[in-house]
Each structure stands twice: as structure tokens, then as C-alpha cells.
Symmetry: C2
Subunit: 399 residues, 2 copies
């Protein structure tokens, strides 16, 4: 008897990450790790959360904080988010907002809502590997999204075969893993393509608040509202997250979309986990409404300095034939190694001989290409460790 | 343009509950509601959670409480649960345990793991409607589970058609909605049937800690371990929840199963929401490890008294032709009305004329039958309100 033999067909696509076991070793204190895409815990507004949980669990609120609540999410938080989104060029009401347990959950629900087996999802190459993991459960095929290229809607539609193109997924600002930002012309082209394909656009805005320089580019959703006149006529679904700004451990994200989309996502959430923890929503509401902008400004100073330190160290230490992105925000720099140098093999050697770590790039490609790429995260290392670690990596690559 | 037109086929099965809108009206203070299956918030261990969140967010722990954590769940909580399960006749290790965001999430992941389109899920008639909602997303067919009946494995397998029977789902103790408990012989018959069908058994133990009288019946999983010798050879997946004992608003549940099942569910969780909120796991660990048994004993006293009050009131006020269950625990009594009296129509009249509410029974049947049934919850009403409300309901039914 083995239950694995009766698993659903989708389970064949749910694979353990090959590098996950390796990354578990990175707790060793002598390793300088640029692997995890995680915020620096020293920057969490922990005292504010201590206070906010105290308020939510005080006698007048505790019954609410510990009780079941509605699947849509805590209304004061949705009201705060509606104002926040208005500031991003997205006028909306709380009825356009669903609270999710992190934006990862939004990706799962969007896959669930749109993808029948064999439908096509358009994704970048590379793209966020957590998005591929979320979508894989619904057994799509993938096609390559390239808003800076010339492929026609017809070509995408023909390639989709018996299924159809259901959505284009992208993280337009400081994307994981590349750190790159899609420019205004690319955003407009993508919206036009989505109109031609009659598909949704999933805008993953996880890093949007972390811009260190350059001019902000309007969100995909705000650009589509400008084209169509109203959020209710838009095909863009915006996924926000507090994980990179306030705290990932509280698992708080949100979705903004036309009401018929949100109301169906509410049904999915009700069926899948009832609602996001009430206490967490109340605490995040209090912290966000008192200090969100000011806290993000502090983060930008620190993370921006770390990005500068990593770019400077790369320029100093990388040998010829190695290139990298110059992100205006976020947490990541994407490095392309010389043809034939494999990121995964380099990682094994980097840990063994230089005690430095990163994430190999291949898992970020739906088609398994990109073996000569790696992702470096600068968010959770001091500038001194960044200088030291990149020097080690350079030594290894010159080696 | 309407995105609904490109939704996945599963969305046609995700329907808003007809009674949900009606139940939203029940906040009116003059209505005596036996509708929601929710704990009494006055019984939450709120001071203990206030203290536990303070501990988790104190300077030495806050970086961990607010940071990303592993998909499996917080190890000290899994260790506590392993001991707790041993006390229920299920010796296991933390590697046999996955922490979920409520047991509703476990049902979603189990549907996802086992069900391809057209596979069969065996469910009671009636059964927990949230289980039907979770499974519906994976487009199964349903067949009726009746461990006290005589249907053979062959008959189930034949009826399954092109798919196959993947699991039997049940809540063996004080089930939602009936309050009934499956006896030992029924549990053994079900395990034998599952062996013949080579399918999984999903044991939803949400109410198990709330037994008010009678002898505990061993869990399905402990009975299967006794048959097979080891948890690793078992096909039963046990789903536990803190929602009915400590707090539903923190969204904390757990799954216990053979390691290959847990490791695949970990992949699903990683892809779907990364992990359950770290702070919540730390707080529940502290509260559970200091007061779980003692707190459950307090709950049993209060809820047991309310069950007694409702049974007494039903005996006093119900007219002839109305029957009901006599649960040994949980939160619910299930009432069968005379043939032809529709629960949903009765509800409309009950709210309108008698200011009393309950949940109509039909949504708890996968096939939409059971129109002459209703579910009463006694958990969130005082004994005095129970006496008054059941008197009103009796007046209406005699009316």
C-alpha cells in the first residue's frame, strides 16, 4: 500500500527544490549567504507589532482578534489599503480588495481561478520560481512573456493549442530574480497584448515599495485604469504584500481587481482556508496606518546602501565575461556567468571552498534553461559582508 | 471584456452559499442565533494569548516571530503535537506533522493532492459543507459514505466510472452538522473498506476534544496503527484543529500522516502560501503547552451544560413529528422536520416572526437532498437564550 500511487496527476509537477536541501545548510555562521530573498529581521518594526498585538488582544478587542472573521478580510485594513492604492493611481473601494495570507496565496488562488489543465500561462524567462510552483498545481503549459519583444497575439494563441492563454504573470518592479523593471512602453505593450489575447494580467508588486533611485513607473493596473476609465473594466489583477516592508512571518498580502474577480476569489478563499488570521490583520492595520511610509523610507535607505555596496563589489571583483543587472530597487542582482559555467556546480564549490552562497538561476526558468545564471540577494547582509562575500565569489570565478 | 468568461472550469462549482447573505443579517441584537458553528469568544484564553504574543515579540524572539519560517511548521509546536497525538494512541514524530492554517486548509490540500477531475470522494450525507466546498475546487464526483450500511467495495469502485475512489472523508466524533459519533464497529468497517478500495481515509477531528459524556472511541488513525503496526503503513490522514479549543481567529490546525504523505503536503503548502504565520505558531505553542488540557476541561463544562439545555428545551417544545440527534460532544444538534417542511423556508419565517435563527440542512448534502433538516448550534448561546430560542422555534413549528 502506498498512497503516492493514487495521488492526483498534478502531484507529478510538485517537485522538491533541488537546492532547498543545500540551502538548509546555510545556517552555519561562517557562511556569507546571498541566497535567501528575505528581509533583514533587524529592520522589522518589532516594537510596533508588540504594541499592536497588545492593543488587539486587550479586553475590548480580544474577542474579535481571536474569533472567526469574514473571508474578504478585516474591513479597516481593506479601507486603509483602498487609500494606499489610490496613492498608487488605483482608485478603488474595499470591495475591490481581498486580504490573502501573503501574496504567494494570491498566486495560488489566481492559478486556481484561471487555469484548467493545459491552459497557457505567460511568464518571463526567468520568473519568480514561487509563481511557477503555485501555477504548476493547476497543470498549465507555459509560454515566454517578453514585453520587449515582437511576438504577436496570434503567435501566442496558436501556440496555446487546445487550451488558451489565461494570463500573463509578471513582477514589473525590481523583479525576483532579475531585479529589473519593465519600462512604461513595455507595460503599455503588454496591456495591448492582453487585450488582444483577452487574457488577465497578474501584476506581482511584492517589491514595489522598495525603489532606491530612478523615477517610479506607474503600476500596470493604474495604466489600465487610465486606458479603460474604470477598475471595473480592467483585466489586471494587482497582488500586494507586506512581506518585504513590515513582516513576512505574519503572512499578509492583498489583491486588487474588479469586483467580479474579487468576489470569486473570496469564494476560493472561503473554501481553502476560511480567512487570514484576524489578529494578524488587526496588527498589520495598526502598524501600517501609523508608520508605513516612514518605515519604508528607512528600509530604502538601508537596502539602497546594500545594493550600492554589492554593485561596487561586483565591479571590483568580477572577472571578464561576467555581467549583472543594475536594479533600481528590490532585493536582487542577477548575474550571468560565462557560457558553460553552471550556477549549481558553482554553488557547491562556493560553499565548500569559499564559504559563500547564492541561488543558482536555472530553477527560475520554466524550461530549465539559464544554467549559467545566479541570483544574489543584498537585503540581509551588511555592507561589510557584501564586500567580503563578493570578493570571495570573484576569487572563485577567477580561480 | 469579462474575465469570468475565461475562468477555469472548476469555478462553475464554486458557488456563493445561498444562506450566507441571510446569515449576515444575524448581527441584529434581538435575534437569538443558533446558526454559526462558532466558539463562545468569552471562553477564549485571551489573557494567555496576550502574554504569549508578548513573549514571542520580546526582543530575544521578535526576529524569529516576524520572519519567514519553514513550510512544515514551527518545530516546538510539532514536537508538542507529537506528544499530544501519542496521548491519542498515535505515536509519531514531528516529521509526521504539518502545521496548516486551520484544518480547512488541510482539506483543501488533501483535495489537491488526491483528486483529479472526475475522481470520487466518499462523503457522508450530510457532511461538513466546508469539506464539499474545499473538494469542489478539484471537480470530483461524490458517492455516499455510510459505514453503518452494507455497500461493498466493488459497488463503490464500479460507480466511480472512469475515475477512482481516492478517499473517504468523515468527522468521526460529534460531526458537523449532525453531532453524531461513529462507533468502533463502524470505524473498523470503514478501515476495511478503505483497504479494499485502496483509498485514503481523511479523519477530520475538529471537535474531538469536546466530549461531554460517554466513552471516547479511539481515533481512526490509532485503530489503523493497531491493525498495521506503524503509522508509516497507514492510509488514514488525521486533521486536527485549535479552532474549537483555543482560537479560530489565529487559523491553526495540523495534519498527521505517514511521512511520504506529509512531505508531499509540505510541497503543496510551500507552493500555496509558503507557511503558516510564525507568530501564530509560537503563540499557540506557548498557550497549548501550558494549559491545553485544563482549558479544554473548562470548555467541556460550559458547552456540555449548553448541550443539556438545548436537549431539554427540544424535548419540551418540539411538536410531534420532529426528531433530533443526542450528541455526546461538539457544538451541534441536527433536527429532522416533518416531511415537506423546508428548512430554508422555515428560516426565513423564523427570522421574520420569531427572531430566531439556525442553518438549513440541505447545503450539507452533496446531492442537495435533506431539505427537511436544520442544524442548531448550542456553543455560542447562554443556557437562558437556548431555552428562550428553542421555545420560539417550537411555537413556530406548532404554529
Amino acid at each position: 500500500m502506498s498512497l503516492q500511487e493514487i495521488f492526483a496527476s498534478r502531484m507529478s509537477r510538485m517537485k522538491a527544490s533541488e537546492i532547498r536541501e543545500l540551502l538548509k545548510l546555510l545556517d552555519q555562521p561562517d557562511i556569507l549567504s546571498f541566497a535567501g530573498g528575505i528581509p533583514d529581521p533587524a529592520l522589522f518594526p518589532a516594537d510596533a507589532f508588540f504594541e499592536a498585538c497588545g492593543v488587539a488582544l486587550a479586553p475590548d478587542k480580544q474577542a474579535q482578534a481571536l474569533q472567526y472573521s469574514v473571508s474578504e478580510g478585516y474591513l479597516p485594513l481593506r479601507q486603509w489599503l483602498a487609500e494606499h492604492m489610490a496613492g498608487l493611481g488605483v482608485p478603488c473601494s474595499p470591495d475591490n480588495i481581498l486580504i490573502t495570507s501573503g501574496s504567494q496565496q494570491a498566486l495560488d488562488y489566481l492559478g486556481k481561478m484561471f487555469l484548467s489543465v493545459g491552459d497557457t500561462a505567460l511568464v518571463g524567462a526567468p520568473t519568480y520560481l514561487g509563481a511557477l510552483a503555485a501555477f504548476n498545481a493547476y497543470e498549465p503549459r507555459y509560454d515566454q512573456l517578453n514585453p520587449e519583444g515582437n511576438r504577436t497575439a496570434e503567435s501566442y494563441a496558436e501556440a496555446a493549442g487546445v487550451g488558451r492563454v489565461k494570463f500573463a504573470y509578471l513582477s514589473p518592479d525590481f523583479a525576483n530574480p532579475t531585479g529589473e523593471t519593465l519600462n512604461l512602453a513595455g507595460r503599455e505593450r503588454l496591456l495591448a497584448l492582453a487585450d488582444e489575447l483577452d487574457c488577465a494580467v497578474i501584476e506581482d508588486a511584492a517589491y514595489q515599495a522598495l525603489r532606491y533611485d530612478g523615477e517610479p513607473v506607474p503600476t500596470m493596473l493604474s495604466l489600465e485604469i487610465a486606458r479603460k476609465g474604470s477598475l471595473e473594466d480592467c483585466r489586471t489583477v494587482y497582488c500586494g504584500s507586506f512581506s518585504k516592508t513590515l513582516s513576512p512571518g505574519l503572512r499578509l498580502g492583498w489583491v486588487v481587481a474588479a469586483q467580479p474577480v474579487i468576489s470569486r476569489m473570496v469564494l476560493l478563499k472561503q473554501a481553502a482556508d476560511l480567512h487570514t488570521a484576524t489578529l494578524n490583520q488587526m496588527a498589520v492595520h495598526q502598524v501600517a496606518s501609523t508608520m508605513f511610509e516612514e518605515h519604508c523610507a528607512d528600509l530604502r535607505k538601508v537596502y539602497g546602501g546594500r545594493r550600492d555596496a554589492m554593485l561596487a563589489a561586483l565591479a571590483e571583483h568580477m572577472p571578464e565575461g561576467v555581467s549583472w543587472t543594475r536594479p533600481e530597487g528590490g532585493m536582487f542582482i542577477w548575474v550571468t556567468l560565462p557560457e558553460g559555467v553552471e550556477g549549481s556546480k558553482l554553488l557547491a564549490r562556493a560553499i565548500e571552498t569559499e564559504r559563500v552562497a547564492f541561488v543558482p538561476g536555472a530553477p527560475f526558468f520554466a524550461d530549465g534553461s539559464g544554467t549559467n545564471t545566479i541570483r544574489l540577494s543584498f537585503s540581509n547582509s551588511s555592507e561589510a559582508d557584501i564586500a567580503k562575500g563578493i570578493a570571495r565569489l570573484g576569487r572563485l570565478l577567477r580561480g
